[in-house]
Amino acid sequence: MPIMIDVKNIVKRYGTKTVLNNISLQIKQGEVIAITGENGAGKSTLLDIILGIQKQESGTITYAPTSLQKQVGVQLQTTPFFPDLTAKENIQIFAAFYRMKLNPIQCEVSLSEFELQDVSHTLASKLSGGQKKKLAIAIATVYDPSVIFLDEPTASLDPKARIHIKQLSASLAKKGKTIMLTSHDMEEVSKLATRLLMLKNGRIVLDGAPEQLLEEHQKEDLESLYLSITGG
């Protein structure tokens, strides 16, 4: 599989604390990579640096092709929207930022794919947590990007919304999208990820296919593996 993003020797510090210490990884086409680790392990920082939102102290990020960097779909942990615009208008405006003009049918299709058709005229500020996450993923996928970044897509959601978001992520993976997601949910990781990456103290301490890692560490499930590595 061709390499889409090549991350080499990334170092990131906040003051005197080294958050990412010489991180290197290659993201290949069609991979579903789950980044996991304890709170503050640097998962979101790594995503931000790969996306160019934050600057690293040293190291390089190479996108192939270079134009790919501005053609990725992103769902941020904070689900930011324009609060005084409706769900539909938020999809339209972000599509426009991606230089894509949506016609009303495309907009409706995008909303119904994420079961948001009933709230299409609701202001983004009035949506529930689950609806906001769905809208965030709808925005991330509105222009059909080949690489999608999902930052804790199921965090702080009720079980029903969590299941639906997992189904949505799984359908994106089935479509052959390259996905990089951060998560604490080991069930989600085991169902979705083709590759697991665990961060601890700013370093990658696990990297491989979930089944392979379970075999290597002789663990029955990813949760036990997670606890054994984090020392829980």
């Binding site: 931000d48 996306l51 160019g52 939102i53 934050q54 501005k70 053609q71 990725v72 992103v74 941020l76 904070t78 930011p80 929207f81 324009f82 609060p83 005084d84 615009l85 208008e89 339209q92 405006i93 972000f94 426009a96 930022f97 991606y98 230089r99 894509m100 003009k101 202001l123 925005i139």
Partner: protein, 244 residues
């Protein structure tokens, strides 16, 4: 794409009824409140003060705070991963916020004409609109620069006050600076707001437009300078402000 973004952002702004009411209350309230107790000869000075004050507070103070809010909510972070450049985004933001203040300007002018029987030639009216639009663009661009240096709304409020009040007090928005010390008059000449006030005053009084034109060009130069600086210092990401 530009038009879609411009229209949708305006839609969002005009949905915030409370913000509109509060923003309109300052210029209209000030004009009506003071206009009832001033003589006819002072009215052009009062109108100059109210119109320019509306630009200063609407385009500068309010825009700055709203931009800090949106950035801290992460909206700009999400836009940053799109192919949108900072200059493109700043241009849209500037035009959107300027349009909002422009509508308030029209409202103030309508109140002047309807309630105070103030009159102006069509030609001077159009020039007045051009000058005020340039002022709106200039101070919205300055608000982006200011927002780039503030970490949160509290800092933004402090910074906008720090910039706006010296500009207001060294201008001739409400009183003449003729009796002010020469150094203060020199300071006023460095402030874009003084040029806006003088340009508006000249147009409202129906004076020769040569002076207003020169001042309009100076305001345009300030606008370009602020836009360039706003683009160079633009923060997409919360927590990366220049004064951390």
């Amino acid at each position: 794409m530009f038009v879609t973004i411009f229209l949708l952002l305006n839609k969002g702004i005009f949905r915030d009824i409370y913000a509109i009411i509060w923003s309109a209350l300052l210029p209209v309230g000030l004009l009506v409140g003071l206009g009832l107790y001033t003589n006819e000869s002072y009215f052009p000075q009062l109108l100059t003060g109210v119109l320019t004050l509306n630009v200063l507070f609407g385009a500068f103070n309010t825009s700055c705070i709203q931009m800090i809010q949106q950035r801290n909510q992460g909206v700009y972070k999400l836009i940053h991963v799109t192919p949108t450049s900072s200059l493109y985004f700043i241009t849209i933001l500037t035009l959107v916020r300027s349009f909002f203040t422009f509508v308030l300007t029209l409202l103030t002018l309508a109140v002047s004409i309807l309630f105070f029987e103030w009159s102006i030639s069509i030609f001077h009216f159009l020039i007045l609109i051009v000058v005020l639009t340039l002022g709106n663009i200039c101070f919205t661009a300055l608000s982006i620069v200011t927002a780039n240096f503030a970490r949160h709304e509290g800092q933004g409020n402090m910074l906008t006050n720090l910039i706006a009040f010296p500009m207001l007090f060294t201008s001739e928005a409400f009183y003449s600076m003729d009796a002010a010390p020469s150094w203060l008059q020199y300071v006023a000449k460095c402030m874009p707001f003084s040029y806006l006030v003088d340009a508006v005053h000249h147009v409202i009084q129906g004076n020769n437009l040569d002076v207003s034109l020169v001042y309009a060009l100076i305001i345009t130069a300030f606008s370009l300078l602020f836009m360039m600086f706003a683009s160079l210092t633009f923060n997409w990401n919360p927590g990366q402000q220049k004064l951390n």
